[in-house]
């Protein structure tokens, strides 16, 4: 067995292979599939227990969904309020229209700080803007401090999950990565020994590096506060020890009032990690002299979000609070893990968010990376109807196809257009049934089953037989029977 979890996953929607192609890599890696299925089953079961004990879960969901929907309808006003309150409390608010602007703002702050190193709390938004390689090219080394992110950074791997980024890596693989990169050949795979190794690695970084980058779980408009939840306390170190803190947050992370945290923190912890409350909940407002960072910057990132906001069906995508319950529940993710999605946002939420962030220029295979089973919608704590958005995005992809000159060379497109003509007239439908029955006889074996079909049909028969078409359709049988009984 190879100790490398995956072969250099590409999480850039512009460069990643399509979902079916990327998924093959994983489907052929039994260890990886086992790791993913095992981990998601455990989180799912924990979530299930903690949701079941909450008798008002559905009311909580309704409240959370309402808060998030209200935010999106009034986003501009709340963002301005947040800017005003955060600035009044001593923070500096920056606005970034896209990834390049956000990266440049962060680089300029770091250069002003004369920083050659920076510590980071797990932030998926920084991965969205591909911050680490950009800083590295500018001569600034970014050190991840979340345990899972350390595993990935040291193992030269990429996150496959937004809450548990190293979910696809098992304990013995972690041991191998730490032993190799930390120079600890005798390290055991005992969890205490592994966390101890990480602690030693981290302590020096916390004490030596005076600049930190974080994401945000929530931005509170009413007070200008930022909230981060985590399980390890390493984030708390990053938020309190450094002199300068830079927080990067998508513009949708706003909550109107401080008391909205009551709903959101309950629903987030139970949905994300199956805990009643996250072990560490950090909340801060601007800067306080003599307590924590003295300089605090917030970068509010758009990067395609306001475009999503303008579409009535897709808008709900931005209600997401990044709990990852959808990916833990997803039977597709369970088989493929996160890397197949070619984006830092995998699973069902990634399948709708990534193509939209790419303004439908990339990742067009992702809306189809779902059997539309609805498990994601059922668990979503803010009631994002993911199947509905998937279907709407598929329509957008089809509309792109409609403008292509060679569209009729695509057997799926051609088949759909022909089927539509056929379904519009019963006589044509019945003629097509007869033609299909005769045509498929060529492929039907002596046992009455079809074992191999050409073209698109081969995608079916590669793993499944198809019973040969019966000689009589139902409507024929019904008509004959009606005639006989007269």
């Amino acid at each position: 067995m190879s100790n490398t979890p995956t072969s250099h996953p590409i999480l850039d929607p512009a460069l990643a292979p399509t979902f079916p192609v990327a998924a093959l890599n994983v489907l052929r890696n039994p260890q990886l599939r086992l790791n993913v299925a095992h981990a998601t089953d455990i989180i799912q079961a924990k979530r299930g227990r903690l949701v079941a004990e909450k008798k008002d879960w559905q009311q909580l969901r309704t409240a959370a969904s309402g808060i998030r929907a209200h935010v999106l309808e009034n986003l501009g006003a709340y963002l301005e309020k947040f800017e005003e309150r955060c600035t009044a409390a001593g923070g500096v608010v920056h606005w970034a229209a896209d990834a390049a602007e956000a990266r440049q703002i962060i680089l300029e702050i770091l250069q002003e700080e004369k920083a050659s190193e920076v510590i980071k709390i797990k932030t998926m938004t920084s991965a969205e803007i591909q911050l680490n390689p950009f800083l590295e090219a500018a001569g600034i080394k970014a050190f991840e401090t979340d345990l899972a992110e350390i595993i990935l950074q040291l193992g030269k791997d990429e996150p496959s999950h937004i809450v548990v980024p190293a979910l696809h890596v098992n304990r013995s693989q972690v041991r191998e990565i730490f032993a190799r990169t930390m120079g600890l050949p005798n390290l055991s795979d005992d969890p205490h020994a592994l966390t101890d190794a990480a602690r030693h690695y981290l302590r020096r970084k916390f004490l030596d590096i005076p600049t930190a980058i974080s994401g945000a779980n929530f931005l509170v408009a009413e007070t200008g506060s930022v909230a981060i939840v985590e399980s390890e306390g390493n984030g708390r170190m990053c938020l309190t020890l450094p002199r300068t803190l830079i927080t990067l947050a998508g513009i949708e992370k706003i909550l109107p009032r401080f008391q909205d945290l009551e709903v959101m923190l309950q629903i987030l912890a139970r949905s994300a990690t199956g805990e009643r409350m996250n072990p560490y909940n950090s909340l801060w407002t601007g800067v306080t002299h003599g307590d924590g960072p003295e300089r605090f910057h917030v970068i509010l990132l758009d990067n395609g979000r306001s475009g999503i906001l303008s579409r009535p069906v897709e808008r709900q995508t931005l209600k997401c609070i990044r709990c990852a319950a959808c990916m833990n529940a997803c039977p597709v993710y369970r088989q493929t893990g996160g890397h197949a999605y070619g984006s830092v946002y995998p699973g069902p939420i990634g399948a709708i968010l990534t193509p939209q962030l790419a303004q439908m220029h990339h990742a067009q295979s992702l809306p189809y990376a779902s059997s539309l089973c609805g498990a994601c919608y059922e668990v979503c704590p803010v009631k994002i109807n993911i199947p509905e958005v998937l279907i709407d995005l598929r329509a957008q992809v089809t509309n792109q196809e409609r403008r292509r000159l060679n569209r009729f060379l695509d057997p799926m497109y051609l088949g759909m257009k022909i089927a539509n003509l056929v379904f519009a007239r019963a006589w044509l439908f019945h003629a097509a049934q007869t033609l299909g029955r005769i045509g498929l006889r060529l492929f039907t074996g002596k046992d009455g089953w079809i074992h191999a079909l050409p073209s698109l049909g081969s995608r079916w028969t590669m793993t499944r037989d198809l019973r040969g078409l019966p000689n009589q359709t139902f409507h024929d049988w019904y008509a004959t029977r009606a005639k006989e009984s007269k």
Binding site: P20, L27, A369, S371, R394, A419, V422, W460, T463, H475
Partner: protein, 248 residues
């Protein structure tokens, strides 16, 4: 009681025995049936593949065809889910007020088969006999879109001689997903393999469901693998009696 049968395009073509079973079952229960010969497809395949305008034309056709029906019974949970969950959005976007009104009037009269039996007819014991070990695959649309709940299990529990074999992870998708099974055939097959492990582990002789599309997927794989289990639509079990035997 009178109802109109919408058989669905794929049942008509691929699974006529399911339609024959519905007819036998409902007539035995004293329901008079009609079958509109102009019916074709509900539009689900087009809608789910992103062909909205095409799906709309079929949805409109369905509403026009059935607007005067006393009730409509459909032996396919995913087609009923299409009508309930997707028609409103399609008509909102592409339809006019007249169509929306016609649809709103029709919608409460559209039933999936197990809903029709339990909610409309008020029967659980349909007089069936099927002395076999059977496991029920709760299709995604049956569970999460239609919220069929325990209806299918209640129907099965009243069948003479039938032993229900509980299926683990019963709400997990079998991997069919319509054109998903073609566009993402490999992932679909991996999901199907997981589901088949659970099905085979039940020790059942038959795997049943209220959706022949899942059964086409699972049955096709079972046949390919020479696994010793058969797939059968729930209607065919319910239509089977000691006197009449199984549906041919």
């Amino acid at each position: 009681m009178h109802t109109s049968l919408f058989i669905t395009c794929y049942n008509d073509t691929l699974f006529p025995e399911t339609g024959r079973a519905v007819v036998r079952l409902l007539e035995r229960l004293g329901v008079s049936l009609d079958f509109k010969p102009k019916q074709t497809c509900c539009g689900q395949m087009h809608a789910n593949t992103g062909f909205r305008a095409e799906a709309f034309s079929q949805a409109k056709r369905f509403v026009r065809l059935y607007q005067d029906a006393e009730s409509v019974v459909i032996p396919s949970s995913s087609c009923v889910a299409m009508i309930r969950d997707q028609y409103p959005g399609l008509f909102q976007e592409l339809g006019n007020q007249e169509l929306r009104d016609q649809f709103a009037a029709l919608l409460p009269r559209v039933y999936e088969l197990s809903e029709f039996l339990i909610d409309k007819l008020g029967v659980e014991d349909v007089g069936a006999s099927f002395p076999h070990r059977v496991t029920y695959h709760a299709s995604c649309h049956g569970v999460r879109a239609l919220h069929l709940g325990d209806r299918p299990y209640r129907l099965l529990s009243k069948v003479r001689g039938l032993a229900q074999m509980p299926l683990a992870n019963t709400d997990r998708c079998c991997g069919f997903g319509g054109t998903f099974s073609i566009k993402n055939a490999e992932v679909s097959s991996a999901m199907m393999a997981t589901k088949l492990q659970d099905i085979v582990a039940t020790g059942a002789e038959y795997c049943t469901a209220l959706d022949n599309s899942c059964l086409m997927h699972l049955g096709g794989a079972i046949h390919r693998q020479y696994a010793s289990i058969k797939t059968i639509h729930l209607a065919e079990i319910l239509a089977t009696t000691e006197a009449e035997g199984a549906i041919a």
